[in-house]
Symmetry: C2
Subunit: 243 residues, 2 copies
DNA sequence: CAGTGGTCTAGACCACATC
DNA sequence: ATGTGGTCTAGACCACTGA
């Protein structure tokens, strides 16, 4: 297979790029199994080692998961995959703030304000679904979440969110809209609590609160979800490990 | 080389482990060059491919840097290596908060308080060096830093810090104490500014500020540096990308 | 020019899953 | 028993670096 290709990039990079494209267009859905290395090697007329290197890179980026003896599977948020890999909020004592202690306050149709429009790269005033959730630690409210999904990518999302008990939004995005969240960008700020936030969090207005503003991106790099998480940091903190 | 080793771990993992140990004990210092793949393969009586896989993992973890045609080098904070890879504070407009706009306020000997002692796993009251720095954006003060280095790992650090113009602490740690920082853990909180912070940052006491508490770990996993960074978030924010 | 890492091949054996 | 990914080998050619 040494046909003196003028194409600059290494073969395994080209294979990887093509496989990512095929995952993206849904040829193999999340949870499903890719063809084996041998089959792909035959298909692309390359050696097993070259295909392996392509798949290994995809695995290291979390796009697929490999299991010896079974096969290579497209990463899914359900299944055995870590559901809280994007959570950076921890109780000051120790463990993560789990998702099962949340209550929906409200889910409604809404329009994107300036800030949301900027984050999702959509026009201000675009319609979508807005959802408010309150997370508790023991019985104490600690975190107020505001989530926005654009109608462009997630039409009728409010219907689905109203039905579901508070679960993983990203699981719903994957199952209902075939949108796999692979990247999030968060901006953290400190500011004074608004009157509304103070009411929900049982604190005084003006107290210092942490605000995490998140934009979640799909596998294709499209901004999908915008959310803010607001809470006091007497019981929780934002934690980030690098290196 | 298939001598039916009972040793459970793969060969390339064992090689990697041994190479990391050799880097750790200073056989090759930061910036220096490791032996070539061929030489190491001969030394360990293994094939080049196996040694390559060991080195590739070290490179992906940032321990070494590889350059085709030249060799494999132990990662150094000077040289061409990215100096701000642990910085997560950005101006709200755009770019990172650079390090060259800092002024030293004070560097002195000090004792570890409860919080520092907890972060660095040392006894409260242990002696060390404490340094205060103020970072500016244009002419406006935006960030107050408090840095603590234990005398155990960094004896006489105050002498060095007093001499240096405000530069990278991690470069000094590497050059003076042979401590290569490879991991940091940060906790972010919101709270009201103290009177001292308000004075330095030219704000009112009680205003909401962001506090980043960082512990930096050396290649061996030892906690080396403790620091807090405090600032308002009208001009800067903490930004984190995941995925 | 010789030496380096980067790519690619073709084969081997292994531990593990599934049937 | 068959097929999967995981490890390991031995050799090839390439682009790049530096003397």
């Amino acid at each position: 297979m040494n046909e003196t290709r003028p194409s600059s990039k290494p073969l395994y990079q080209q294979v990887k790029q093509h496989l990512v494209y095929r995952v993206l267009k849904g040829e193999w859905k999340p949870g499903q199994c890719l063809p084996s290395e041998m089959r792909l090697a035959e298909e692309y007329h390359l050696s097993q080692g070259t295909v392996r290197k392509a798949i290994e890179e995809m695995a290291s980026e979390g796009l697929v998961t490999r299991q010896a003896g079974k096969g290579t599977f497209v990463t899914s948020h359900n299944g055995d995959y870590q559901p809280f890999r994007f959570h950076r909020l921890y109780r000051n004592a120790g463990g993560k703030v789990a998702g099962n202690e949340a209550t929906y306050l409200e889910t409604r149709q809404a329009e994107a304000d300036e800030r949301i429009a900027h984050g999702l790269h959509i026009a201000p005033g675009s319609t979508g679904t807005e959802s408010l959730r309150l997370r508790h630690l023991d019985t104490q409210p600690v975190l107020l979440e505001r989530i926005f999904l654009s109608d462009d990518l997630c039409p009728e999302a409010w219907r689905i969110l109203q039905q579901h008990s508070p679960g993983s939004i990203y699981l719903i995005l994957e199952q209902e809209y075939n949108l796999l969240i692979t990247k999030v960008v968060e901006q953290v700020r400190a500011r004074a609590a608004t009157a509304e936030e103070a009411r929900f969090l049982s604190i005084e207005p003006g107290v210092a609160v942490l605000e995490v503003e998140r934009v979640a991106y799909s596998l294709g790099g499209e901004p999908v979800e915008w959310r803010t998480m607001v809470g006091m940091t007497d019981t929780i903190h934002y934690r980030n490990e690098m290196g």
